[in-house]
Amino acid sequence: MNKSKLNPIQMMTLISAGILGVDILTVQRRMVEKAGRDAWISLLLGGLLTLISGTLSYLLSVQYPGKDLPEILIEIGGRFLGRIFLAAVAAYILLYLGVSIRVFTQALLIFLLDRTPIFVLILFISLVTGYAVFKDLDTIGKVVDILFPITMLTVFFIMLLALPQSNPIRLRPVLYHNTSDTLKAVLPGYQRFTGASLILYFMKHVRRSRGTFLWYLAGLVIPIVSYAALTLISIMVFGTRETITQAYPTLTLIKSIQFPSVFLERLESLAAVFWIGLVFNASTLFYYASLRNTIILFSIPEKYKTYIIWGHIALLMAIGLSKGQVWKAMERFDSARLLQSLITLVLFPLLLGFTLLKKRRRITKSHESTK
């Protein structure tokens, strides 16, 4: 009856959910390590860069209506070069997905299930996210629509509860002898908003284009503000030194909240349960992107989609279990992000420039021929 297509407003929830993944647990530590007490400024500047690169990604997708990123890459680069570009994107997305699942399961091991083997957790998360992808993007959109507000409410609720413990003096002096570190941390800050380029996978399925860009921008602003606020509060509560020493500062932040224990003693365990939804959202969206990459990269017919979805589980298990140490996993996470920066800050603008140039030439040629 109603054709299943994404609504422009869903660009906001999908993009926000894609960005707010496992990083919500570690963003403060990674940023404070790089920029100290001014990490929040780096995040905001990184966010600004995300808005610019996100706009370029949006413009690129608009140039190719009815096509998603893998198809765009093949169209621009041709079968050979396009596949090389696509292979880089596919590798990054798969790596990011595998490592983020690993990092989250590590948090679950610490805060929730200390005696459960990690492969069981990775397998379960992969299975459930795979199941969502096995359905369609429309289903994923609906699930994200429902989960996203709930999980965001918990995030804001926790920030609000942590405010009484915060001390604004810990932020001072702002940018004092720290400008260069703050600026250096803009790129790592930018790398926290990986999901911004997911727009290139969704635009193909959006029902109407009117207002889509504004919803997309809203989808970028929500995580930028959330991450910056979370980092700001963590610095105010713990100070820079303590923030760096914590594996999962957000969960520790919850620990610091003085909550009257009528029914619950450990709020952080409950939050870990709640944020399974947050990680599930991001993982599902990246899983979907990875599926599309694989299908186009290897020219696999749509009817074999099911095999690719379930085949991904083996790859995710391999990435997640390749080395047992969580710290190693996080390091791999950062190297994966470098690839992301290259793709979104160099490759996509180049592709957009090339497309626009090509378009302009075509218009000039057609003008000349009419004359």
Partner: protein, 521 residues
């Protein structure tokens, strides 16, 4: 998947189907004896098929009527067929000749009359309670409406009681059910399209919708799906509809079954479609969504704020029904550190002496609860109440005293049982009760992580469901924000100016500003 399907796919044999065409092509003859014997043969000389031969208006022309005595209204036959035909037929006497139209127009006083010539029409009519009049020398007959509406009177809804509002429920007779709807919806655009279903036992069913409101595509989709259904015997409305839903194997009801005419009227006014079948004291409404199944008739008789809180409490009831035992197991077995020390001590002391782990205890109690609920339905009402008291109080108390289960488990099971009764739709309640066990298994194996993953998988499944093309979770989500006011909560009646957008109605306006001013005056 595809390979496995191919491997295990067996060539399906087409069974020899019942062939009603053997007699459907037969036509009436001019010999009434021949017609009587043919009908007797078709009806396998059924003892309740009665025939009565007589002379038309005292003349020598023979005629006969045939009817099924257990279905037809014999008083009506006497008063409106036999009496006029034998004694009061002035037309025949004055003109000396007559045709079937004369008899139909001047001699029979029954309200509905149809000229027929094939045995297909005759058999269907007679089996529905009509009477066939066949006259010597005429190869056409007259099918006269003599259906006896014997059945129970309109009573109160048994499974969907409400505190306020109408207290009428459907009965087994289609005609009365149509009347119950028509009486509430005095709109000439209310359409009732009569169809027949069944290869052997033909049953009348009606597709009801509001022309100009219901989406044409939806109506034709339902008609198409029903038309391809080839059922052997008589199916109930719900069975029939469950066969044509998008996902027939889903445990969640993708149609709304109701015994309340007011619910059907409300659905029709929104642009949905209802299906009623003769012999079924319920109507099926399609499409439906999960939030709609959580609505109760009472919601619309209360203030919107109160109704919204009640609806939200029902949602809590849904979660408690499906998850409460699982969460208890997860917290006690995996995460006792989540709870404050006093609560942990209280739980531990209540479980002292219980020989089973928490999950065995929970499974035992949930199983007992299911037995009690099933017994309560099967037994007569008076005995059912006794079973509930014996089961709930005596067995529960005895089990605690014997140290088989902890008092806390009895409380949890009781809360779960009470919560399950808050779900207005019976089929949805059953689905939630069914889900309890898989969630408990997930809780036993992976604690709250397992429960959370189960919930996510369940949510994904629900989001993928569709009822006649309409997403099962609408209007939850961002697709139709204007429909939120009658979804999980209920907005004020003045705010519901438009019909649900999700149904894509032909006429979206339900309440215009002009009408509002008029009403206020």
């Amino acid at each position: 998947m595809g390979i496995l399907k191919k491997l295990f796919k067996q060539k399906q044999k087409t069974p020899e189907q019942f062939n009603s065409h053997a007699w459907s092509h037969l036509m009436l003859s001019g010999d009434i004896r021949d017609n009587i014997s043919r009908l007797n043969e078709i009806m396998n000389h059924s003892s309740d098929l009665k025939s009565r031969e007589f002379n038309l208006a005292g003349s020598s022309r023979r005629a006969a009527i045939l009817f099924v005595s257990t279905l037809a209204n014999e008083d009506m036959i006497q008063e409106h067929i036999l009496k006029p035909l034998i004694m009061e037929s002035a037309v025949f006497n004055t003109r000396g000749s007559m045709d079937l139209n004369d008899i139909r127009n001047s001699m029979l006083s029954a309200d509905s009359i149809q000229i027929v010539e094939s045995f297909d029409d005759i058999v269907l009519g007679v089996m529905a309670g009509d009477t066939i009049l066949t006259i010597q020398g005429y190869d056409k007959g007259i099918l006269i409406h003599t259906r006896g509406n014997q059945g129970r009177t309109v009573g109160e809804p048994a499974t969907e009681p409400s505190v306020k509002g109408p207290q009428e429920a459907f009965v087994e007779i289609l005609k009365i059910n149509i009347g119950l709807i028509r009486r509430r919806l005095l709109d000439p655009n209310l359409c009732f399209e009569m169809h027949k279903m069944g290869r052997r036992a033909k049953a009348d069913y009606v597709i009801a919708y509001m022309k100009g409101i219901a989406n044409k595509e939806l109506v034709s989709e339902i008609k198409n799906r029903l038309s391809v259904l080839d059922v052997d015997g008589q199916a109930t409305t719900a069975q029939m509809m469950r066969m044509i839903v998008d996902r027939p194997n889903s445990i969640f009801p993708l149609i709304q079954v109701t015994e309340r005419p007011d619910k059907v009227v409300s659905a029709l006014s929104e642009g949905r479609v209802a299906i009623l079948m003769n012999g079924n004291p319920e109507a099926v409404i399609a499409p439906t969504t999960l939030p709609i199944l959580m609505h109760s008739s009472d919601d619309y008789f209360e203030n919107w704020m109160i109704a919204s809180v009640i609806r939200l409490s029902r949602m809590v009831g849904v979660f408690v029904t499906a998850l409460f035992p699982a969460l208890y197991i997860a917290v006690t077995a995996f995460h006792p550190d989540m709870l404050p020390i006093n609560l942990v001590l209280s739980i531990t002391s209540s479980r002292m002496g219980v020989p089973f782990p928490a999950y065995v205890e929970a499974l035992l109690m949930v199983f007992t609860l299911e037995l009690l609920q099933e017994a309560g339905i099967r037994l007569p009402r008076v005995v059912g109440q006794t079973v509930s008291i014996v089961g709930g109080l005596v067995i529960g108390q005895a089990a605690v005293s014997a140290g088989i289960v902890s008092p806390l488990m009895v409380i949890i099971t009781s809360i779960t049982a009470v919560a399950s009764f808050t779900v207005p739709d019976y089929s949805l309640g059953l689905a939630l009760r069914f889900l309890r066990v898989p969630f408990m298994i997930l809780a036993v194996t992976l604690g709250s992580f397992g429960v959370a993953m189960g919930m996510l998988a369940g949510l994904t499944y629900l989001a993928s469901l569709k009822s006649f093309g309409l997403s099962y979770l609408e209007p939850i989500g961002t697709r139709y924000p204007s429909d939120w006011k009658d979804g999980m909560i209920r907005g004020s009646l003045w705010s519901m100016k438009k019909r649900p957008k999700e149904l894509n109605p032909e006429d979206p306006i339900r309440l215009s500003k002009r009408k509002r001013e008029k009403n206020r005056e």
